[in-house]
């Protein structure tokens, strides 16, 4: 099925004009998730101030339209939030903010959630902080992905 018509307007908007593309030098936290074999890699950069507020978020993504859009939306959603609030930006929140995703693309939103977590984990590790509810990033998310692919028919 055609992606262009399966994607919501919001997804197409975030894909064609992605917000916050780029790198942050000396970022407080950087997380990279996904792998090239599966066709999606997201890298998220966070700049976090002393009050644990996310001042700035940037991303780079190798992946499909949904991967780009969810990355873009994820950066938008975490900006200005505290670390704790950012943890609550789930894949569902990202999907809802994008007016939904086609079933086969749900895994992209999961990847975005994981990218946030991975960047936060990096920040926590670097600063010796422990953030409640944050788990270490999985090395290879193949399994999770496959599970979610199956959900999407």
């Amino acid at each position: 099925m055609s992606q262009a018509t399966e994607y919501s307007k919001k997804v197409m908007d975030h894909f064609s004009n992605p917000r916050n593309v780029g790198e942050i030098e000396d970022a407080s936290g950087v997380g990279t998730v996904g792998n090239a074999k599966c066709g999606d890699i997201m890298r998220m950069y966070l700049d976090i101030d002393e009050n644990q507020v996310i001042r700035e978020a940037k991303f780079k993504t190798f992946g499909c339209g949904a991967a780009v859009a969810t990355s873009s939306m994820a950066t938008e959603l975490v900006k200005g939030k505290t670390v704790r609030e950012a943890l609550e930006v789930t894949n569902k929140a990202v999907m809802e903010a994008l007016d939904g995703l086609p079933p086969v693309k749900v895994h992209c939103s999961l990847l975005a959630e994981e990218a946030i977590h991975a960047a936060l984990w990096d920040y926590a590790t670097k600063n010796g902080i422990s953030i409640e509810g944050l788990k270490p990033p999985v090395d290879d998310i193949d399994e999770t992905e496959e599970f979610y692919e199956m959900q999407g028919e």
């Binding site: 992606q3 894909f15 090239a36 066709g39 190798f62 992946g63 086969v104």
Partner: protein, 396 residues
């Protein structure tokens, strides 16, 4: 949809020619009759259907009664494979095919594997070529069928069909070829090329969708895929799709008379496109064989970027292309064809197939390359893989 589209996806499907639409029209309305009926008007339609059959038989250098109409290329492929598997089940249960066949062939083979058949999937070289010697080595006493495509749908490589057919016959094995991409684009002489069965589809050569054919050498016994009425000499049931078949015949008539000029035009533009892309876009791989390939096909892998994003951006620029084969878009797996020619997964994900037609112009090609260049650059600037690559100094 006001903006002009540049259609570079002719391997997915083609526009039905106005002459073809015109040829079909009467058979929807005034001449809607069932060609199998007794009355005279019905008989006249049956005669037109047989004229289409003859046009196609002439084009393939076979007899009209060796041409059977089907509902498309996939049906023909499934019929060839399952029909021979059933008809020859007492003779053997081994089938030889390649790793780069269309899914209509590979999935039919996989289905047979679940039902007691054994299938050898031959490797191809980096250009997508099947080695006839490998075919020969794979033949066993229980081999009943060799099915190797005439030309690949993703990378355009034309297989050494004649040689494979020769080997098949030397060993008394049947040879089927999926010629869905080649038919109407390359001259095919089934006798000269040692082809026992051949699949083709109308919509790949400016005919309607939902109509295909199979050439079956008259000496071959094959079981039906679709049982029922006596249409197609009892070999393929279903009310004859007169409009579709007559349209197919017209499309073949036109294709036959324009074969050479189309090839030359397409080769010229395709080669121009490929040269520009390879010169102007770094870290690009040109897939398929340099010379033994369909004249309208160009297939690339752009490193560090992903195909769907590329297609979406091309679409926004008014360019229709494809990544892998159209049937698989939306799937998350990279093309089995690109993996078979040795592309690593992440490179296979960044594939783009552009397939032109006689209607494509030099301006279309140049516009496409210009846009493509910018899009690839933009996607790379967003790519963490490219970032890593550059940080490592541009070396792997």
């Amino acid at each position: 949809m006001e903006k002009k589209l540049i259609y570079m996806d002719n391997a997915a499907t083609t526009k039905v020619k106005p002459e073809v639409v015109e040829a079909m029209m009467p058979y929807f309305t005034e001449l809607f009759y069932n060609p199998s009926s007794t009355y005279g008007v019905a008989g006249e339609i049956a005669q037109e259907v047989d004229k289409a059959r003859e046009t196609i038989a002439d084009f393939l250098n076979c007899e009209a009664r060796e041409v059977f109409f089907t509902g498309g290329g996939s049906e023909s492929d499934n019929w060839a494979i399952k029909g021979i598997a059933d008809a020859r089940k007492d003779k053997g249960n081994h089938i030889i095919t390649s790793k780069i066949e269309h899914h209509a062939v590979t999935h039919a083979c996989q289905f047979l594997e679940k039902n007691g058949y054994e299938v050898t999937y031959l490797d191809v070289d980096e250009y997508g070529m099947v080695d006839p010697k490998a075919v020969e080595s794979a033949i066993k006493s229980n081999t009943i069928l060799i099915t190797i495509m005439f030309a690949n749908n993703e990378i355009g490589t034309i297989e050494p069909v004649k040689e494979i057919g020769r080997i098949a016959h030397e060993h008394g094995v049947l040879f089927h070829t999926d010629a869905v991409q080649a038919f109407g684009h390359v001259a095919i002489d089934v006798k000269e090329m040692n082809i026992d069965m051949l699949s083709a589809s109308a919509h790949k050569i400016n005919g309607p969708k939902g109509v295909g054919l199979m050439y079956i050498n008259k000496s071959i016994r094959i079981s039906n895929l679709i049982h029922g009425g006596g249409q197609e000499r009892g070999k393929r049931a279903g009310t004859t799709n007169a409009a579709g078949i007559i349209g197919f015949g017209k499309a073949v008539e036109i294709a036959a008379s324009t074969l050479e000029e189309r090839r030359e035009h397409e080769m010229r533009l395709r080669n121009h496109m490929v040269s520009r892309v390879m010169e102007e876009i770094p870290y690009t791989k040109y897939n398929g064989h340099k010379t033994e390939r369909l004249s309208n096909n160009a297939s690339f892998c752009f490193r560090f970027i992903e195909g769907e994003s590329l297609l979406l951006m091309l679409d926004m620029a008014g360019i229709c292309g494809s990544s892998g084969s159209a049937c698989n878009s939306g799937s998350l797996d990279p093309s089995h064809v690109l993996l078979a020619i040795g592309c690593p997964h992440e490179i296979a994900h960044g594939s783009l197939r552009l397939t032109i037609s006689e209607e494509t112009t030099l301006e279309d090609v140049d516009y496409t390359v210009d846009k493509l260049k910018g899009i690839v650059e933009r996607l790379r600037s967003m790519s963490p893989l490219y970032e890593d690559f550059i940080k490592k100094g541009g070396n792997d």
